[in-house]
Symmetry: C2
Subunit: 270 residues, 2 copies
């Protein structure tokens, strides 16, 4: 490699030691230089939270030079949230603006509305804000020593696409692979809908007071709809859901404008 290699930034929400992260590094290292900035421990359910009232610290974990066959690899751990990691990487830890940002591979899926809670998906959204193509990868395998190698050809296909063609501005990909070792193919999906049931499990502290663990089960409302990521994920497809940074409910605007805007008392004065 003599020309400037592509730069890929990777983060996750399971922490810099997670197997899913290192599997992903292995799958994409051939495409360029890799900078990893990942939380110092698990941050599941971090959503797009930022450390607004606590200081954030980074530690250099590994620094490997590149070769003809593969790019360099630099790994930082960061005491902040997944979103902090991306912000930190862009401003302080990447040698230049990354060509691609990847989240994952998450131990556990981020299908459907659960993308909202996901630290893995937040990595892709933060990259959207910074106008860099991004993909969040999650797996139905949840154990710490899970084997994610069945995802390899699909991760390669999607990463190659993003590195060569890019992605539309303001749009990232949320990729979910079920707990399978082979997949039928890629399916472009819409986000499934649903809610959690029995969300809190009550326990009693030794001192007698009540506390709760978040728990429960996810109940999809449209899980049999083949258009959803929920369905594709369960049916051995690589579920690829394009997500948009712009949350505006454009279709609702007209009706609301009729009801509210401009308010009559000010119409004349405008």
């Amino acid at each position: 490699m003599t020309k400037l290699r592509k730069l890929i930034l990777i983060s996750n929400d399971d922490g810099y030691q997670a197997r899913g992260l290192h599997s992903l590094i292995g799958m994409v290292r051939k495409y360029g230089d890799i900078v990893v900035v990942a939380p110092d421990s698990g941050r599941s359910g971090a959503s797009m939270s930022i450390s607004s009232s606590t200081p954030v610290r980074n530690k250099l974990i590994k620094e490997e030079k590149g070769s003809d066959a593969e790019g360099s690899l630099t790994i930082w751990s960061c005491s902040g949230t997944p979103d902090d990691c991306v912000k930190m990487a862009f401003e302080n830890l990447c040698p230049r603006t990354p060509d691609l940002v990847l989240g994952g591979i998450n131990h556990g899926d981020n299908c459907a509305v659960n993308a909202h809670y996901s630290g893995t998906v937040s990595i892709a959204f933060e990259a959207c804000i910074k106008q860099v193509p991004a993909i969040a990868f999650s797996s139905g395998y949840t154990s710490a020593d899970a084997d994610f190698s069945g995802m390899t050809p699909w991760v390669e296909k999607l990463v190659e696409h993003a590195l060569t063609k890019g992605l539309p501005k303001g749009i990232c990909l949320n990729v979910n692979c079920g707990a399978y070792d082979e997949f039928k193919g890629i399916k472009i999906c819409r986000m499934g809908m649903g809610d959690w049931k029995e969300e809190w499990q009550k326990s009693i502290h030794p001192h007698g007071w009540e506390y709760y663990w978040i728990a429960g089960y996810y109940a999809p409302t449209d899980g049999n709809d083949e258009a959803t990521d929920t369905w594709a994920f369960k049916n051995q497809y690589v579920a690829v859901t394009p997500l948009q940074l712009d949350l505006t409910a454009y279709e609702a605007m007209k009706e609301l404008e009729k009801d509210f805007s401009p308010t009559p008392s000010f119409q004349d004065g405008e």
Copy 2:
């Protein structure tokens, strides 16, 4: 009031003692019974994070009976995130499913892409998941003793609308009022775009190691576009941005389907 009063759930991300929360309670108490479940301290920038690995505890702060003139008021503090507060309220602390969920009033705006980071907005999104109408209120006033009374007629207008007409399924309102005491009217907006600059401020710990505070300034890329909440907020309108729970980038699906799906090797077998 002899008939069953409306039930309004209120949370925020500035904590149960915040003035913005108590201003909002004062503005809407005439509409029904109020249950507040709010974080025990500030949770700015919490986004839709949930306490996936720490237990959550609630404390009853206040319990006032209703009268002919106004509904009852129950206030709980919760050790979790704003999103946890909503989940906790629905499952354990509300006497019935709320008719309306409100977030705020936040000390500080949540315009544009910053809605993604907002704990206040997360309250409305969690209510969307639970299919209950919801509004997030934020103000340009940031000080702890800010006077939010200029928002009163607009909060009333929006709350009355949501209680009588409801809101479309899967859609909540993100309402931002600038640091003014009077407003020109309601403006239905789209979410503005932009990014933060100089996001990290480096400091040195007494022991010599570096750490960072998140800081910087927000730089809109479309702040002069009158369609954005960024513009409306700055120009003395009540900026009302309808946000949708469904993040799917529908317009990008067709192009991605051409590139990816169904993958040729499996086309025949399906």
